[in-house]
Amino acid sequence: MLSIKNLKASIEDGTQILKGINLEVKPGEVHAIMGPNGSGKSTLSKVIAGHPAYHVDGGSVELDGKNLLEMEINERANSGLFISTQYPTEIPGVNNVEFLKMALNSKRAFLGQPEMSDEDFKKLCEEKMSLLEMDERYRERGVNDGMSGGEKKRNEILQMAILDPKVSFLDETDSGLDIDALRIVANGINHIMSPEKAVILVTHYQRLLDYIKPTYVHVLRHGKIILSGGPELALKLEDQGYDWIEEAK
């Protein structure tokens, strides 16, 4: 499904942040990426999405055999990639629902499907908003405009639910969520997840993984994945931190 091979990327001043990432994600899997601050976790998501602030120095990222790095940003999304960043951007004046409808119909156009009718879109929205226990106010608001951290994260998962991507890369989706919101968001992700899809979670804490069981846990440090394991690895990291990994080497 998603195959990242020897991915290297740098920022404008030439500093290399990703120094050879390798990651294979298969349908039905949940991968958790953990690591200290500044290790390159957020950069990884942005590079895959095609953020213009990063330059790819080498490697490949393939989704179902197609090289994402050769695609335009919107084509990557329409091919089935969904990236939720740590700090979702506020766009005052662009209505949340109109934005969602435009995004969904852009994907449908890309896939050669007809536009979704207003009525069907309304039903889809209602269903997904109900799943995430979102109230009607979200419809009237600008995209992430004036929302709290938790509201923004919930709004991101609403987008994910509506766009129905093959692979979702969720960067610190649990940050800014209170206990109830964490449960609701995690339930939403579990509901959206299916054997045909995959999720990559970036997180600092085990608490999200209590709700969403990872297939694999990876440790990203200094721009490389230095250790991979099962769900037990997250528990060990929560207990002992990251230094023991370097010391063991």
Binding site: N74, I91, G93, V94, M102, A103
Partner: protein
Amino acid sequence: MNAEFIQNLPTAEQAIARLRELGMPRRNNELWSFFPVAKIPTPEFMGTDFATAPTTTPAAAPAHSSSDEAVQKESDFAALLPIANQARPMIREIVAGAAEMAMLKCNNDFGHTVLDIGKGAKVSLEILDNKVTHDIAAERFDINVGENADVEIFFANPACDLPLRFRHFNINQAAGANVRFSSICKDTAIGRVSVECHLKGEGANFDYRSLHILDGEASQHSRLTIYHEAPRTVSTQLARNLLSGSARVSYDGSVIVGYDCTGVNSSQLVNTILMSEDASVSVKPVLKIYHDDVECTHGNTVGELDAEQMFYLVSRGIPKKSAQEMLMRSFAQETFLPLPDSPAKKRLMSSL
């Protein structure tokens, strides 16, 4: 009808005389600093010699009446031009307490509209483009707003390719009068909107919002002068520009706060998004404040579409062009969002 207001309007003869006195607009005249003055044809009544050698001696007769005195205070070429060109004034009184919606459209190249709005009246006034036959059009609006009247003046016409258009507004507001002036301009040639607003009564409020969406060689200019002549008067200016191609906009806004005008609140903000290398904007705020207890602010921003917002939209699968259009539309709509629900707001928003 406010007799003094009507009597002080210049006659055609007075306007011609005053224009001869003022001469053709020149770049060194602060009213015309940014305007491509070379594009203004010399009016026939001025004579061809006048264009190259403006007189320094007033051609007008010595002042005998209040009208003569009033015309001597007129200094804007664009304000005098329609009257000097024999525009027949359309004079209309809206009586106290009335509620009216109206659309105004001049039938000639030169138009002059005079409105006397009574106390407590509620008026919605849309200005439509006139049908013109020549290369220049000039309209003048003299609007007297009575105590506690509530008036909205707006225009959002389809793009017009008239080579040269002037629109001048002279607005007087009595105590407690509210005027909301809102406009959208998508014209493709040269134009200038000038507004002179006198806040004469305590608590009068003038709200100005303009949006220019220009492309190609369009060159549009705004000139505002707001006189706070009474305590606790309020003025708000918000001008937004979305400029592509070689489009050019200038905003020249002056606020004058008089003596003893305590508690005045005035703000001016100009936001411009340049969509191309060759588009340009010039902004000149002027504040003349003759009282201490006032709050007057001005600001100006020039930039491009927000790169992070663009990335966010495109990363959700929206094509770049559509994402740009969404951001431009939101930037444009925000200009008018704070307006109360009204015919003006409905018309302005629907035209975006």
